[in-house]
Symmetry: C2
Subunit: 348 residues, 2 copies
């Protein structure tokens, strides 16, 4: 292969599609026919089908100055699969559409797809179709994910019951903290015209931002432990925002204890540098892709020693309101300052 970068316009749409699809092999029994026709053909037999879609745009969801393309492709798949897991379902197929501007070379697109394919391998999903086109400005990635579940397993946002325990997987706020670090170092880099960024010691929060994972393991373990969550949602916009979604959809209230919200040691240290409160970040920082779910009080024994999950509060009646409980026992009304895909600074 030539050392020279391949120009996408020389390759053409079909050349680019060949480049992207040539090594795709289907893994799942539910994938009958993948790329290469007008549409993919799938077979879910007597399961229910789950469908979700997400769109990521350059300059809004990612910055190619610090998002390596391979990680970006991986993350785009994770964002989409996370929604399927949040239904207590198993993702099986994705279709990926991209729009790219003139600055992209074939090598860059290949790198992006390396990440997409790596995520497909890791999460055992099949890439069964997509669309590629040009854009006037930047990169846009749109992914639709399909999965399946038994009807009785599917977990909606609206099923939380009074006295249910509120649980959250992993720890929160890391992805937001990672983003702050990357933004700071980008500024240093830009202002010093090339100074080397120093991100040592913050590998964990950086990885939370650059290469998050979707919690398939939580879905598997819920099943193994015989826990049927009463409601579930993935944390893409921040805990506060997702708590509001879940309780509003369920017509319930909640009490969440601030000191029970899980944060990592590294987040605490980084937050300290930025003079920020770790819990505030955990409540409002998005993109952690952890799962927020409720379980019946009778399942307490099954979750209390589960090291991947924290019980952070409980569901109350709607009239009791939605509250955070501070360590000294006072109540603060829950409000959302969650990360918002439509940030006003980009729209004005």
């Amino acid at each position: 292969m030539s050392e020279q970068k391949k120009d996408i316009s020389q390759l053409g749409e079909f050349g680019l599609i060949d480049l992207i699809t040539k090594d795709i092999k289907l893994k799942n029994e539910t994938s009958v026919f993948g790329v290469g026709d007008d549409a993919a053909v799938l077979d879910y037999k007597n399961k229910k089908t789950i469908l979700t879609t997400d769109i990521l745009t350059e300059g809004v969801h990612f910055d190619l100055m610090y998002n390596p393309l391979k990680h970006l492709g991986y993350k785009a798949v994770v964002v989409s699969l996370s929604d399927v897991y949040a239904m207590n379902a198993n993702p099986q197929q994705i279709v990926v559409s991209i729009a790219v501007s003139a600055k992209f070379t074939a090598e860059m697109i290949e790198e992006l797809y390396e990440g997409i394919k790596l995520a497909c391998e890791f999460y055992k999903v099949d890439l069964v179709g997509g669309d590629t086109t040009s854009s006037l400005s930047g990169l846009i990635i749109s992914i639709a994910a399909l999965g399946y579940a038994d009807e009785e397993k599917i977990t909606y946002r609206n099923g939380a019951q009074e006295n249910d325990l509120i649980c959250v997987s992993g720890d929160l706020g890391g992805a937001f903290m990672g983003l702050q670090l990357l933004e700071r170092e980008k500024k240093v880099f830009t202002e010093s015209k090339g100074g080397q960024p120093d991100l040592t010691g913050f590998e964990y929060v950086l990885e939370r931002q650059l290469k998050p994972e979707a919690r398939y393991d939580i879905v598997d373990e819920l099943n193994e432990k015989g826990i049927q969550p009463t409601s579930m949602i993935d944390i893409s916009d921040g805990l506060s925002s997702e708590l509001l979604h879940l309780t509003t959809n369920s017509n319930k209230g909640c009490k969440v204890h601030l000191d029970k919200i899980p944060v990592s040691q590294e987040l605490k240290e980084a937050a300290d540098e930025f003079q920020l409160e770790p819990t505030t970040i955990a409540l409002n920082g998005g993109e952690d892709y952890e799962l927020l779910f409720t379980v019946s009080l009778s399942d307490f024994d099954k979750v209390k020693d589960w090291d991947k999950v924290s019980v952070i509060g409980h569901i109350t009646s709607e009239s009791d309101g939605k509250h955070l409980v501070t360590p000294d026992g006072s109540l603060v009304e829950l409000s959302s300052m969650g990360w918002d895909g439509l940030k006003s600074e980009e729209l004005t």
Copy 2:
């Protein structure tokens, strides 16, 4: 409601989602749960699931100077459904993702979704999810469509057999011709700083470009007539390009008679104005969303008097090559100059 245009950034992502989704009602039995959770839930029972996706970008696939937003929304859905029909399948659900820049108001997004919802009504599909976000430049629409079919009905691109008849629905080239007219009038308008465009007499080709339809009726009538096509593809890139796809995927050759390629009277008149050959436009102009399919020779009686369908040639062995037959009987090798989503002028 206030007369003032609503600013999307004031509305926020969730306000915008409410605005878009508030009047969505599910129509199809296969749609178990639509918008409002992490993902949609669908039930195809023992049918096979069909999945396809398309992405349309401003400045590449449409120009807001002459694409009314409502028509654009309608067309975006049609583009996606056309791929499902081309599998001889029935679309049932779509998910729509959009990315919009700062120049868009809430009213504009509502107008776009009016078109999307109108298409959903007309084609009896359910809008079951999506994603909305901002973009740094322009509008991007990405749609994934789902459908179903009985296994034995599904029609791939690769099933054409020697001596099969090559059929095409409707007439071709109109959408391309409509685009040329719009581009010409845009130029006139821009240069004369506001002169009124004159598009009288070309309503048909303009509608082919601005508000095309997907051929659900052909799929229905194939079924009613008891015809199982051996292969099928929708004509999005131009007849030549799709003929090459279909024959290459089937490992076959073809002979297509130029004088049998269906073109409308209005296309002929418009082509005359532009000093273009109608057949050349029909072969290479894209976006007609007609269906190209092959049927067994034994089905000739079923297609010969079908007014919506033209038999334009037949499938040959691969070694016979891929040819166009001119009216005087000479052979011209089939080549593709088809409309290409990755047009080089946009990438350089």
